[in-house]
């Protein structure tokens, strides 16, 4: 073994030690959440241990916490609500933004440039505290404390970025196919629906993931808009639970895990799209 090789191996082990310890710091709190969700209250208060019990005893860990969290602590409802908001919200964001983006990219109409820049301006200018007038608006429309009210906020929040991203995507697509279809008598809407939209799949996939994460994790608007527990998404439900049962750590941790599992699964499966979305959002902006 020569000096050069030794030097290279030792450098790479130092790098791995640094990266590994940061990675451990990232994972540990999540591990701790899951582990604590399988303990009894008594274990939390008296015995500090990494795992809820020995690994051989894994079936005797307190899996019942999850049943209790789902049924007794209402996390089942909250979870279903979050799923509803996410699916419906993302569907409308994609539908509405892709139509608009297609028009901005391909069609002519009055005020096109002005409208597009107006839209983009709201992406660039930081506007904190719009939840105050939004609250008043929903109140006037009779939409306060309704699912529709919260959804409308979520949908309109997602539009500007989605239109921006999709317009860029449509701009890159060749126009020949669409022109041929137009000559063959296909309507403008038909072209959008049958030709442009299917071609935009990669961009739409990215947008679906990004918007799902945003809506699933959103808290502030849910806090401002909703009072009725039956309509709350899981992030809001977690705070309600935590406020009521301050020391029931195992159930709280089970609730946190329930709120996290879909996100982690989606993240692990769709990593590439998420990274692409972040990068395109940041680098183009």
């Amino acid at each position: 073994m020569n000096i050069y090789k030794i030097k290279r191996i030792s450098t790479s082990s130092v790098i791995h030690i640094i990266l590994g310890s940061v990675a451990l710091t990232c994972v540990f709190p999540v591990f701790w959440m899951i582990s604590s969700s399988l303990k009894t209250q008594d274990q939390i208060f008296t015995k500090m241990s990494l795992l809820p019990g020995s690994l051989l005893d894994i079936f005797n860990w307190k899996w019942g916490n999850y049943w209790e969290a789902f049924v007794k602590a209402d996390f089942g409802y909250y979870f279903a609500n979050s799923l509803f908001y996410t699916v419906v919200g993302v569907f409308f964001v994609i539908l509405i933004s892709s139509m608009a983006a297609y028009a901005f990219s391909r069609l002519e109409f009055h005020g096109k440039t002005f409208l597009f820049y107006l839209l983009i301006a709201t992406l660039l200018i930081p506007i904190p505290g719009v939840f105050v007038p939004l609250y008043l608006l929903l109140k006037n429309l009779g939409l306060l404390d309704t699912r529709t009210g919260l959804l409308l906020c979520y949908i309109s929040n997602g539009l500007a970025f989605a239109i921006f991203l999709l317009k860029g995507f449509f701009d890159e697509l060749p126009r020949e196919v669409e022109e041929a279809a137009l000559i063959d008598g296909c309507s403008r809407f038909g072209i959008y629906w049958r030709i442009a939209l299917p071609l935009a799949k990669p961009a739409i996939a990215t947008l679906i993931i990004m918007n799902s994460l945003t809506i699933w994790n959103e808290f502030l608007l849910a806090l401002v808009v909703l009072q009725d527990k039956a309509k709350m998404p899981i992030q809001r439900g977690l705070m309600v639970f935590q406020g009521t049962f301050i020391t029931d750590y195992p159930l709280l941790m089970a609730g946190l895990t329930i709120a996290t599992i879909p996100i982690v699964i989606v993240y692990l499966l769709m990593q590439k799209h998420i990274v692409k979305g972040i990068a395109s959002g940041a680098l183009k902006g």
Partner: protein, 295 residues
């Protein structure tokens, strides 16, 4: 091909849904913020009292709690800008060093940013718990007996710093991903040429990596500032602004005034805070442009 009026109208229909939602739920609330900010109003009464810029004046000159909340957010932001982004850069540079397991590290580092602020806040609140938290347990076991029941989040001295650390934990992976994407756009040939010319690692960083990364740095810096100054979920789930207002930030303040029915006052605060953010990010863009031209 001439487009008829009717066609133009038909084309316009494509943007109508987006336009209606955007105008009603995005643009109108923004304009309404400015309108409300010059009225004293509790959100219920028919009558709104027009007070000109009285509320602005009061916030700017007679509301130390607001400035305290700005300073708190400022401290969290400074921590994020220095330690968090520094770490993000170091990690991005290390990961591009052609090591094994690059993908695994990338996956793990970006895990905290995809978790929700509420989930992260509540996990860490449990970790920081004075009596049952694992942090104190660990500290006591390695010999710091004085931490037996130290309540990190209720002590004036440590509350803000603790929240700041959690914010950095949640945020560094975000900067890391963007910086990594930026690093990967730098052509390898530049480094190969530099190596041939005998440039060492530091010279390569100083003369190739750093200058080419300036635009990316600017983006990361602006995103960090905007994200950190507008922190809310973590504060709300960990301390709710306590102990005694020592972790209040502008958004929790605005929310608090709104909850107390001071709608005009809270919107005036939102406008002032928005202006501050605008100035900071504007200054940052200007500075980096200047830096770029000077080279």
């Amino acid at each position: 091909m001439k487009i008829t009026r009717k066609e133009k109208l038909g084309n316009f229909l494509f943007v109508v849904p987006a336009l209606v939602l955007f105008l009603v739920f995005s643009l109108y609330p923004i304009l309404r913020t400015f309108e409300l900010s010059v009225f004293e109003w509790n959100g219920i009464d028919k009558h709104m009292t027009f007070v000109w810029f009285e509320q602005y004046k009061h916030i700017l000159f007679n509301n130390p709690a607001f400035w305290k909340s700005m300073a708190n957010a400022g401290i969290i932001t400074l921590l994020a800008l220095t330690l968090q982004n520094g770490l993000a850069l170091i990690l991005a540079l290390l990961v591009t060093k052609n090591i094994k397991g690059e993908n695994i590290y990338r996956t793990i580092f970006f895990l905290p940013p995809v978790l929700s602020g509420i989930v992260v806040g509540l996990i860490w609140k449990f970790v920081f718990d004075g009596n049952f938290g694992i942090l104190n347990h660990f500290l006591v076991n390695i010999g710091f007996a004085s931490f037996t029941d130290f309540a990190w989040l209720s002590e004036i001295k440590t509350a803000l710093l603790s929240v700041g650390v959690v914010h950095m934990w949640k945020g560094f992976g975000y900067g890391f991903i963007i910086l990594l994407a930026g690093l990967q756009t730098i052509p390898v040939e530049l480094y190969e040429a530099a190596e041939v010319d005998g440039a060492d690692a530091w010279q390569q960083f100083k003369n190739i990596t750093f200058p080419l990364l300036i635009p990316i740095f600017t983006i990361v810096t602006i995103l960090t500032i905007l994200g950190s100054m507008q922190i809310f979920d973590l504060i709300y789930s960990m301390t709710r602004g306590g102990p005694a207002g020592h972790t209040h930030v502008p958004i929790t303040k605005i929310y608090e005034y709104m909850s107390n029915g001071e709608f005009g006052y809270s919107t005036a605060m939102a406008v002032i805070f928005g202006m501050v953010l605008l100035v900071i990010s504007g200054a940052q863009i200007y500075a980096s442009k200047k830096l770029n031209y000077d080279r």
